[in-house]
């Protein structure tokens, strides 16, 4: 048990060290601009399809489920209100983050893990490149910026999906639906939906980089690192969601 606690504390210490090194790399030269652009493309554009599909189907199923329930109270026209509030505040950010964890977190852990076990990280250092600046910082920046962008896209496409169901299945007029969407949103909700993804992007990528850079044990180790990155990233997203939501409730509402 003591060994387990020691190992867990060591992991936390190493994670915090990586975060500190990344923060330092953000404010000191050199920067690898080409890698930063590449990671924005890989994390942002690369995740677009999965986020579009997730957002669309989430919005559609939300409209379908809530439509049936609200109909029991004669409040079918309120579907837009429920969908917008749920998507913007909670489902959009969290589902986008979980999708990015599955796609990007696993990819980063596998890529960095493979580089670790084949000595490519050591080779990078031997050639004068700092792996934190060259590999971690571009990914962290891309995660912090692109997860919020993807979240906004998921929110928007989710509401379009809900509108399709509202129009075709629930027979709600478009003007009624969109008016209800706007009425369901408060400025604090929008801020909450925009602030949380920054934290999600940060934890997903830093955890994946940390796990990848601590990979040992050959190809088996790479497989283990990939699984750990997805599991730890997903749990961290849900935990951070709770903590940031609680904090924002205190600060904004």
């Amino acid at each position: 048990m003591i060994e387990w606690i020691k190992a867990a504390l060591l992991e936390v210490q190493e994670y915090l060290r990586l975060v500190a090194q990344t923060t330092r790399a953000l404010f000191t030269r050199p920067y690898y601009y080409r890698d930063i652009v590449e990671q924005f493309m890989a994390i942002g554009m690369g995740s677009l399809t999965v986020v579009l599909l997730t957002g669309t189907f989430t919005g559609m199923v939300l409209a379908l489920q809530s439509g049936i329930t609200l109909d029991m109270f004669g409040a079918r026209s309120m579907v837009g209100r429920l969908v917008s509030a749920s998507m913007v505040k909670e489902l959009g950010p969290v589902l986008t983050a979980l999708m990015v964890t599955g796609r990007v977190g696993s990819g980063i852990a596998a890529e960095l893990g493979s580089m670790m076990v084949t000595d490519q990280i050591s080779a990078l250092r031997a050639l004068g490149s700092d792996p934190i600046r060259k590999l971690v910082l571009p990914r962290v920046l891309a995660g912090i910026i692109m997860v919020p962008v993807l979240t906004v896209i998921a929110d928007a496409i989710g509401m379009v999906g809900a509108w399709i169901i509202a129009a075709t299945q629930l027979k709600i007029a478009g003007s009624v639906f969109w008016n209800s969407v706007v009425l369901g949103l408060f400025i604090q909700d929008v801020w909450m939906g925009l602030i949380k993804p920054f934290f999600f992007g940060f934890v997903i990528v830093t955890i994946a980089c940390h796990v990848g850079l601590r990979t040992t044990g050959g190809t088996q180790g790479v497989g283990r690192a990939t699984t750990n990155a997805v599991v730890a990233g997903s749990v961290a997203v849900l935990a951070v969601d709770f903590l940031v939501t609680k904090l924002l409730f205190v600060l904004m509402y």
Binding site: Q120, S122, A123, D130
Partner: protein, 289 residues
């Protein structure tokens, strides 16, 4: 520049006098009673040696004897628990990662299996340091990449990916990558392990060529005795026709290649090829047999 500063600035610019002092015949790598342990396992126990500029040091020893660890200590990838390490005029054992970057500018390393970047072509691998770290113009980088690939005879493979190369070709590209930035010291970590004897000789010959034509100081870690003796006992000569031939090394050249045998983290033997071959030490005899 306030908040934004260049890294590596902690290493001061050298005076011409110091540069001269670090010239031929001077020590370029010094280990003084260096010790390292991982938890209870002692890896190196008060290891001391000196590599002279232009010379070759060949590390022999069983697996786990601490040979590769020495290379990682020189590169600053690991830090010793005790002892002093001098590399190219700098005491590196207390250097930070940023300070080590400046020292690594004069070091090249050939890793086990090559450690080529598998997402980059041979051209990009070899030119990586020049383009990415030294910020040389692209045409200058291409010229140097073609020059070093010509030196190791792999010009035709310049646009291949590492996955399209054989094991021997990957090692030779790794050597090209390590030498591209014209380092003063080259470190070879098991450069011929896993290669067939004929391919291993081509790698050995690249090591000899770099030593004899480029005057690069080298440390070779291996447990392939045949390759170790090939490197120490042969010399490269350029024939009038411009081709390169490998001939038995003269006495002076042989004395410049020293063997160092590690056993259980300690230096068990240090001497020339002839001294190693004639040793009566039971451990050495067992290793050589």
């Amino acid at each position: 520049m306030g908040l934004f500063r260049n890294r590596g600035s902690a290493v001061a610019t050298r005076s011409p006098e110091l540069e001269e002092a670090l010239g031929p015949g001077s020590p370029i790598v010094v280990f003084d009673k260096v010790s390292l342990a991982f938890d209870d396992k002692v890896i190196l126990d008060e290891v001391s040696f000196t590599l002279i500029t232009g010379h070759t040091k060949i590390f022999l020893g069983a697996s786990g004897a601490g040979k590769s660890t020495i290379l990682k200590l020189i590169l600053g990838l690991l830090k010793p628990d005790a002892g002093i390490i001098w590399v190219n005029g700098e005491q590196v054992d207390t250097f930070t990662e940023d300070q080590m970057m400046a020292v690594r500018a004069d070091l090249g390393m050939v890793f086990q299996e090559g450690a080529l970047f598998d997402s980059l072509t041979v051209r990009e691998n070899v030119g990586y340091k020049l383009w990415e770290e030294m910020k040389q113009p692209l045409d200058q980088v291409n010229t140097r990449v073609e020059e070093v690939l010509g030196f190791i005879g792999l010009t035709d493979f310049i646009d291949r990916m590492p996955s399209e190369l054989s094991g021997g070709q990957r090692r030779r590209v790794a050597i090209a990558r390590a030498m591209a930035a014209k380092p003063r010291i080259l470190l070879y970590d098991e450069p011929t392990t896993g290669l067939d004897p004929i391919t291993a000789v081509t790698v050995d010959e690249e090591i000899i060529k770099l030593r004899d034509f480029e005057n690069i100081s080298s440390i070779v870690v291996t447990h392939q005795l045949r390759d170790a003796f090939y490197v120490s006992d042969n010399a490269a000569v350029r024939l009038p026709a411009g081709t390169i031939d490998f001939v038995p090394a003269d006495e002076e050249k042989r004395s410049q290649a020293e063997f160092l045998m590690l056993n259980k983290g300690k230096v068990h033997f240090e001497g020339t090829s002839d001294e190693l071959k004639s040793s009566k030490d039971p451990y050495l005899r067992a290793f050589l047999s």
